[in-house]
């Protein structure tokens, strides 16, 4: 089975997010890029499908800072092919443009299964997966937390609120928006990553220039109004606990 996993690198929220002077975009100097977490799950799910029914896993990333490390780590975990899409514009893409770029590249691979994260925290114009599916003319199921693939179809577990799950049968080729892999993403020893850096090959392909599109007009970025911020309880553990007891008494929980 030919599986393709397009991944996005997104700002790590452990670092403080800073808005630049224009107030309409982020100050990228402090941004650390890491793999979008649902995409980590997509890589893991792809490897699980490969281990189950055989095949190849191709991981596709844009040429941004940190992409090489991410791709080599995927190879060290078992990915077979690594693709990096290059171009000066790749740091500025929205998902509309990204899905078109990915579609152009991925269709040449003729995959049976495309796994990508169901969304990313910096998606302002919707998730990539459903847009990619449209571009490729493939069916799309999002919020997937389990995939059993066979030659021409896959049974997927789609999550709904409240813990309800729908088991759906999707004909292949298809695009799946992964929420969680069947197992948490595996650990990859650094020694293996280092080895991959020596043996694996990252293929570079140019990302087509996107056509312009009437996207949302961003006027301003700001931090949420902290006017109604929580009243912070001060003191050591004992004092905080005592305060909490007071509060709980006050609302009749105690």
């Amino acid at each position: 089975m030919n599986i393709v996993v397009p991944i996005k690198l997104v700002p790590d929220l452990v670092e403080e997010i800073v808005i630049d002077e224009s107030e309409a975009s982020l100050d990228t100097s402090w941004v650390r890029l890491i793999t979008n977490e649902p995409d980590e799950h997509s890589i893991e799910q792809a490897l699980l499908v490969k281990e189950s029914v055989g095949g190849t896993v191709t991981v596709v990333a844009l040429d941004v800072e940190g992409a090489d490390d991410v791709l080599y780590t995927a190879a060290a975990k078992g990915a077979d092919r690594l693709i990096k899409l290059t171009g000066n514009h790749v740091t500025e893409l929205n998902n509309y443009a990204l899905s078109r770029i990915l579609a152009n590249v991925i269709k040449t691979f003729r995959p049976e299964l495309i796994l990508t994260g169901v969304g990313a925290h910096n998606d302002l114009d919707g998730p990539v997966g459903s847009q990619l599916a449209e571009q490729l003319g493939m069916p799309y199921v999002g919020y997937v937390a389990g995939v059993k693939a066979s030659a021409d179809s896959a049974v997927v577990r789609k999550e709904y609120p409240g813990g309800l799950v729908a088991e759906m049968v999707v004909t292949l080729p298809a695009v799946l928006g992964v929420q969680a892999a069947e197992k948490p993403p595996r650990y990859c020893p650094i020694s293996r990553v280092r080895q991959a850096m020596k043996t694996a090959n990252i293929e570079e392909m140019p990302a087509a220039e996107p056509e312009s599109v009437d996207g949302a007009i961003v006027v301003r970025m700001s931090k949420p109004d902290t006017g109604e911020r929580a009243e912070m309880l001060e003191g050591d553990i004992e004092q905080v606990a005592d305060r909490l007891i007071e509060i709980l008494r006050h609302i009749d929980v105690l």
């Binding site: 302002l124 799950v165 759906m168 999707v170 009437d214 931090k223 929580a230 929980v253």
Partner: protein
């Protein structure tokens, strides 16, 4: 150019999801400004009854056996057909498992601009302003929806489901279904969450843990506190993914919405997917060592102490307070 606002009514197991009412409330808010009507789009089989109480001016109802279960394929066909004839000013979808499957596809198919993670819509003359919350809730993006037609994926934000309900039943217009042969997705069956476990959406006191709980061992401390308070434990996504709590205890977008008297959020950062499910809590108390955690923006009280240090001390004091 149309001024109507379309809302895809999400429903499952014969119940209209709260997000649908929330979108209707948002739609109502901007329809006046656009001078258009609020139109609910109801798709399914034999679900016309669900239109009762929907706060829309009109409901377009498309019925077909092939649409009895939600599939993105089926709904995409209907929505594509709908927009072939007439396009609204804005088409609202839930930023959810259902809405997300369709909205992105539609945007790509008709080259219509799409705004997601949207929590607020305001009409300002002919302009529709939006506010989206991204980067795990840490950044608000304000902008304007392009014309003539834009697609919006909505999160609950500040709206309440009640605002989208109505005492009356809106006018229903039944439209013919498009061709639905050759759908590539079908539902095999539904799997209910494990029976026998508590329904956290009905609990009055919830001790909810996030990544900060660190390991399964520490869950015991959370359980002890919950028990002492007469409540239950719940958790955010990472805790369930690790298997430290069953999925019945998940609070958040893919889990349950809760409305306890007190929601104790321990080691939970407060990402929108979680926060949207706890907005109806009477009081939220957050414990997180990260002063920047978005949870502090919606909690009434907070503290930066280490939850692992606090838990045993608090449990003891609660037990004492209860005379135990």
């Amino acid at each position: 150019m149309s001024k109507d606002i379309y809302v895809l009514i999400e429903h499952l197991r014969e119940q209209v999801a709260d997000i649908s009412y929330i979108m209707l409330a948002a739609a109502r808010g901007i329809a006046a400004g656009t001078g258009g009507t609020v139109v609910g789009i109801l798709i399914g089989h034999n679900v016309q009854g669900l239109a009762d109480g929907i706060g829309a001016d009109r409901v377009l109802y498309i019925d077909d056996l092939a649409l009895a279960d939600f599939t993105s394929d089926g709904y995409q066909r209907v929505v594509e057909n709908l927009l072939a004839q007439k396009r609204p000013r804005a088409f609202l979808f839930g930023d959810t498992s259902m809405g997300g499957d369709v909205a992105g596809w539609l945007s790509a198919h008709l080259s219509l601009p799409l705004v997601s993670h949207c929590r607020d819509l305001q009409a300002d003359g002919e302009t529709i302003k939006f506010v989206s919350q991204v980067y795990g809730g840490k950044i608000l993006v304000e902008g304007a929806l392009p014309s003539p037609t834009a697609i919006v994926m909505m999160v609950p934000g500040g709206y309440k489901a009640e605002q989208g309900k109505s005492a009356q039943t809106p006018e229903m217009v039944r439209l013919p279904a498009p061709a639905l042969d050759g759908l590539r997705i079908s539902v095999k069956n539904y799997i209910e969450p494990a029976a026998g476990d508590v329904d956290i959406s009905k609990e009055g006191v919830l001790v909810s843990v996030g990544r900060g709980i660190q390991n399964q061992d520490n869950m015991e401390m959370a359980r002890d506190l919950a028990k002492a308070l007469g409540g239950e434990v719940a958790g955010s996504r990472p805790v369930i993914d690790q298997g430290w709590l069953p999925s019945t205890r998940l609070v958040g977008k893919s889990g349950k919405s809760v409305k306890p008297s007190v929601y104790l959020a321990l080691g939970i950062s407060g990402a929108p997917e979680h926060v949207e499910a706890i907005g109806d809590s009477e009081m939220i108390i957050a414990i997180n060592t990260d002063p920047q955690a978005p949870i502090f923006d919606i909690a009434k009280y907070g503290s930066q102490v280490d939850l692992l240090d606090l838990l045993p001390v608090l449990t003891e004091k609660v037990t004492e307070a209860k005379g135990g």
